[in-house]
């Protein structure tokens, strides 16, 4: 399809062509035309049985989520012994079965669970876990505990692999100020934005002056051969920004979002993502952030509110997608860089730990509990032992949701976890 050109060149040439051109509503069509490529999302499929209109939404719970107070092992006395102040009282747990239940503030989660739209993967982690936020987050985002490929992330490598709908600058959209390592790729296909209003370049002049100014802006920012790395990176980022800016604002203008989102930053991020999905962006992966899970002190209250935000936010998001008719296309996956120590500390909080549950949402998940809960008595240095490697979860998503080859992207074969069919 892209003979004689690397995919990086393809992306860059396509971009430059578009950026230098006038204002077309859809970058995608223009690139396709420019490259003589009959781009039709409905027809391109890389793996039989996996539709190409699938969308993945990654939710990062930054700081280290306390898995034991999220999915509560209420039948286990060891839990109550380890957490005299912080344990969720047995009577308040939202029971999923005779041993495990959800935190009482996760009622919206429970509704999704009962409707078959939520899956919980228990005890996820990796060997020789790091308890550093930064190291562990790097490991999760690069999917590489040995730190060989820290330049690009696991989603970025998916963008760089053969993925037919990835050759656009908005293949990945991060809602937040800093691009996560997970989305970084050699081709630079991911963009970041926070609000659509601020996501545009404003000329200083009005009317025809503004149009001329924008034209000059594109000349000043156009990539050129043989330039030093940082300047080159900045030029391509600028071009991506200009193209994605038009796409995103166009999409967001077309759909305002119906469901009642919680009035939080996370809620606003999910609303924006729903708008972009409804607006028909060609985006494969969206990335949203929650922060504040690093609950070393006074955990109660703060953590409770976060769990409610997560549950209510995702529930509103899925309602919105259903109203749009897009729910079947979307998989939401939530992760954190680590769980927390089994025993509470003296500050009414918990210190950095290891294994924790991951969550997957959407009408197409295989609902319920997957894997088994880590033992609270057979510990490694006071921390839970993992049973599922997080790369198995990634492998499952890559193969069964995105239709990609997991071994190529993850560098090794990993077992699948049956939360997706």
């Amino acid at each position: 399809m892209i003979s004689g050109m690397t995919r990086r060149e393809f992306i860059r040439k396509g971009l430059t062509i578009v950026a230098m051109g006038a204002t077309a509503p859809s970058f995608l069509t223009r690139t396709a035309l420019a490259m003589g490529h009959p781009f039709d999302l409905a027809q391109v499929t890389s793996r039989p049985g996996v539709p190409d209109d699938h969308v993945l939404v990654v939710v990062q719970m930054g700081g280290g989520n306390d898995g034991l107070n999220t999915l509560v092992p209420f039948a286990d006395d060891a839990y109550y012994r380890a957490r005299p102040r912080l344990a969720v009282p047995r009577g308040q747990v939202i029971r999923l079965n005779d041993e495990l239940g959800l935190h009482p503030r996760m009622t919206a989660f429970k509704e999704l669970y009962d409707r078959g739209a939520a899956a919980i993967i228990q005890g996820v982690g990796y060997p020789n876990p790091s308890r550093s936020h930064f190291k562990s987050m790097e490991i999760w985002q690069s999917a590489d505990p040995d730190g060989r490929t820290l330049r690009v992330g696991w989603i970025g490598r998916y963008f760089d692999s053969k993925c037919p709908t990835c050759e656009v600058p908005a293949a990945g959209v991060n809602v937040g100020p800093t691009m996560p390592l997970a989305m970084r790729s050699d081709g630079g296909q991911a963009v970041s934005l926070e609000t659509p209003e601020a996501f545009q370049w404003m000329p200083s002049l009005d009317g025809s002056g503004a149009r001329e100014e924008l034209e000059l802006f594109k000349i000043l920012n156009a990539p050129a051969p043989n330039e030093p790395g940082t300047i080159d990176f900045l030029r391509h980022t600028a071009m991506n920004a200009v193209v994605a800016s038009e796409q995103v604002r166009d999409a967001v203008r077309r759909y305002r979002g119906g469901a009642d989102y919680p009035n939080t930053r996370f809620g606003a991020s999910l609303r924006l993502i729903a708008q972009m999905i409804a607006g028909g962006l060609p985006t494969k992966v969206y990335y949203a952030h929650m922060t504040g899970f690093d609950t070393h002190a006074a955990q109660q209250g703060a953590h409770d509110a976060l769990l409610e935000q997560l549950s209510a936010g995702v529930a509103a998001f899925l309602r919105d997608l259903e109203a749009q008719g897009n729910a079947e296309r979307v998989l939401v996956v939530a992760f954190s860089e680590f769980g927390r120590r089994v025993a509470e500390n003296g500050s009414g909080g918990t210190d950095h730990g290891t294994a924790a549950p991951m969550f997957a949402f959407g009408p197409r998940v295989r609902p319920g509990l997957h894997g088994r809960h880590p033992s609270l008595t057979d510990l490694a240095d006071g921390d839970l032992r993992h049973h599922v490697d997080f790369r198995s979860v990634y492998a499952t998503i890559l193969e069964r949701w995105l239709g990609a080859d997991p071994a190529a992207i993850l560098g090794a074969p990993f077992e699948r976890v049956p939360f997706l069919a």
Binding site: G62, G63, S132, H133, F134, K135, P169, N174, G176, P177, T178, M179, V191, S192, L193, E194, T195, E197, A198, F199, Q200, W201, M202, P203, S204, L205, E212, E213, L216, F217, I219, L220, N221, A224, P228, T230, I231, F233, L234, R235, T237, A238, N240, A241, A244, S245, T291, D294, H296, A297, A343, E344, N345, G346, S347, G348, G349, D351, H352, D381
Partner: protein, 488 residues
């Protein structure tokens, strides 16, 4: 000094020129205007670096913010007890104090910004910013805004002082005690938050200690708490049992832990690397860091000799260093305002612009501090950075302020740049020299000439009222909306 850290010696092929003088002012401060750069060229590198490093040479006159009303509000809230008030009264007193605290935090953010805009000690403020990004504390974890000011003043006082002393001071700093929870680190059930980051992010770096060391260090810091705005050692909460930390056993306390840390070879390399990366470039050569570590250790962990060695080194003035650093939002905003002579620009808008670029002063993203290098740049933040010049030139910027009906006057330094120029090409070159300090490619220069409304560089151009001002504004906005302007 070792070869890797050889001193810069001017020569015919590498003279002490305007480009190198501008580079020094960019990195050790917030940039310089043409007359300042000329003066630095005249006095030479050694004298210039000495001026910058000898912070006390010039008096600092900015008045500190007034926290007395806020202290009174918190004291009033604390004085209410179930015996002398209703629950509603206590709640309202807390809300009043919290609201005032939030206002004061915003004031503090504007105060520091104003201070950076006007300071005559640019290296001191660059160091305060460096420490804020390394020994990180901030909202929302730090509940008392005044303690963030106290910490900011600590960084200012010890800007180029002794690092071991600064680390010991930060272990006792009321904002840090809140931010990393050491204020509630108690005997029996220690809180590891501070101990871990002290080792990982402040002094040694990952790989130079074990998980067991983290746990033992946390025990050593039990009982290190605060009473209000000052450090307090709570002997009842301190674990005085034997501990083994990095191979040393004894009844260790926090001070011993700091001593042991600085006896590690990794400690001598840690800060010099961070300093070099802040001033020169990322991912430096090992030999350069070896040489700096030697300077650091020999001075018993003084910061000034390391900074002096960096700023006078040959590598600092090498192509790898010059005009290759992505400006942080503070550098970008403060630098632009100073370059254009707009020190009276509305502070709330400048602060908001930095927030949108990803550098919210006193509200760092996490304990790891700010991004560095290309990590500052995403499609989102790049557009914000580009739009920022619109704020200075038209009064408007998406997400910050609506454009004024009547545009503000042309920035004084922009008008000055046009004064002696007669052609569109000359105006372009003067603006480029001031703002980028290096010539643009021919196509890009031509684009700016066109922005001035000229068909070619030789076309006459004079600053004579409305239309010509609009043209200069447009050219400036375009020039500041370039990759080149993002680098220092």
């Amino acid at each position: 000094m070792q070869q890797a850290l050889a001193k810069f010696v001017p020569s015919a092929s590498e003279p002490w020129d305007r480009a190198r003088a501008a580079h020094l002012l960019n990195r050790a401060g917030f940039g310089g205007r043409p007359d300042e750069i000329d003066r630095i060229v005249r006095i030479g590198m050694d004298a210039a670096v000495e001026e910058l490093v000898a912070i006390d040479r010039v008096p600092e006159t900015t008045a500190p913010p007034d926290f007395s009303a806020l202290r009174a509000a918190w004291a009033a809230a604390a004085a209410l007890t179930p015996a002398n008030s209703t629950e509603r009264q206590r709640f309202e007193a807390r809300v009043t104090a919290q609201r005032l605290d939030n206002q004061k935090l915003q004031e503090l953010r504007e105060w520091w910004t104003a201070h950076m805009l006007r300071t005559r000690r640019p290296l001191q403020e660059r160091m305060v910013l460096f420490w804020h990004g390394l020994l990180v504390s901030g909202r929302p974890e730090v509940r008392l805004a005044e303690t963030l000011y106290i910490q900011n003043e600590l960084f200012r006082r010890m800007a180029l002082g002794n690092y071991k002393a600064l680390v010991l001071a930060i272990c006792r700093d009321p904002a840090m005690l809140q931010y990393l929870d050491n204020e509630s680190n108690r005997k029996g059930r220690p809180n590891e938050n501070f101990a871990r980051e002290l080792l990982e992010l402040f002094t040694l770096g990952i790989g130079n200690y074990t998980e067991q060391d983290v746990k033992e260090a946390a025990r050593a810091f039990t009982g290190w708490t605060r009473r209000g705005y000052t450090f307090f050692f709570d002997a009842r909460q301190h674990d005085d049992g034997p501990k083994t930390f990095l191979g040393r056993t004894g009844n260790l306390d926090g001070g011993d832990v700091v001593e042991i840390i600085f006896a590690q070879p990794a400690a001598a390399r840690f800060l010099p690397r961070r300093l070099f990366e802040a001033f020169a470039y990322l991912r430096p050569e090992d030999e350069v860091i070896d040489a700096l570590a030697e300077v650091f250790r020999a001075s018993n962990f003084e910061v000034a000799p390391v900074v002096r060695a960096i700023l006078t080194s040959r590598v600092f003035y090498s192509p790898r260093a010059m005009r290759t650093q992505v400006k942080s939002p503070v550098q970008l905003v403060v630098g632009a305002v100073r370059q254009l002579g707009l020190e009276d620009a509305p502070l709330p808008q400048l602060v908001r612009a930095m927030d949108l670029m990803g550098q919210a002063l006193f509200i760092p993203p996490h304990v790891g501090g700010w991004p560095r290098g290309e990590s500052w740049i995403t499609t989102s933040t790049l557009l914000v950075r580009y739009n920022f010049s619109g704020l200075l030139l038209t009064g408007g910027m998406p997400g910050v302020a609506r454009r004024a009906a009547v545009p503000p006057a042309l920035p004084p330094e922009a008008a000055r740049a046009c004064e002696a120029a007669r052609t569109a090409g000359e105006v372009t070159d003067r603006l480029v020299d001031r703002l980028v300090g290096r010539a643009l490619g021919a196509d890009r220069r031509r684009a700016l000439v066109r922005a001035l409304g000229a068909s070619d560089a030789a076309s006459p151009f004079a600053l004579d009222g409305g239309e010509s001002e609009r043209r200069v504004r447009s050219a400036l906005h375009l020039l500041m909306s370039t990759p080149e302007y993002q680098l220092a």
